[in-house]
Amino acid sequence: MKVGIVVFPGSNCDEDTLHVVRDVFGRPAELIWHKEHDLHRADYVVLPGGFSYGDYLRCGAIARFSPVMDEVVAFARRGGPVLGICNGFQILTEAGLLPGALLLNAGQRFLGRDVLLRADGRPSRFTGGLSRTARYRLPIAHMDGRYFIDEEGHRRLEGEGGVLFRYADDNPNGSLGAIAGVVNEAGNVAGLMPHPERNAEPVLGNLDGRTVFAALLGS
């Protein structure tokens, strides 16, 4: 399986994601510049974290119209797996590939710290192998991570088991239902605010990111 990692102007987790996919998991991976109209025959696409287009207008609002997004949308419509991490999650909601929106943190502050996460929702290709009772410690780094969706959408999302991750114990940003990550109805597009690529090696404190990232990649 080859992983394509899209680089937008302002992405800043692209190299970390590439490093983890390639050097920790031993998967072939390539960076894809957002101006390209080609996914380099990737079988799995990641939209990484960062501040694409300086978060101007709204986080992800401009990146979703980058040329490569036509291919990402077509790939997703064909059932190809797409994962958005942090800003990537914001871009996927702006593109309409994932339900809901990510708004300014309830505490109005940028949050750069660890959170405890728990896997939830229906069985999915992104969470296989994760325990439902475990707490995974992952870093977050965002200003706009408050998940919001209208009442009807929320009912539908919960009803179909589309909430893949929730903040356990404390809800750092005021997300509705402590939602930290979701999957689309078809089960092939997922997004989460925490950064599993940031603690996937022993030198970075703990290996929970590795466990979660392995599940997300389906390895």
């Binding site: 207008l57 709204r58 609002a61 401009i62 119209f65 909601t93 702006e94 809901g100 929106a101 708004l103 300014l104 943190n105 309830a106 505490g107 109005q108 408050r146 919001f148 969706i149 209208d150 005021g174």
Partner: protein, 82 residues
Amino acid sequence: MVARVYITLKPGVLDPAGKAVESSLHTLGFQEVGSVRLGKYIELQLPDGDGAAARARVEEMCRKLLANTVVENYRVELQGER
């Protein structure tokens, strides 16, 4: 012609920045202020011409890019329309 676009969070969506401004106004003694909601104001320069057609275009811009209709409402005002 100038289009003025006002983008606001939908009612019911928590606006923490608005809350902070509200609490600051209260601290400054403006107790009469109820709730405060912050939004965006966008000004677009457009060629003079048919107002209805321009409005339809600007509304399309709002739906596609300027607003996220999942959480935001938009309102368009045209100035200098014939």
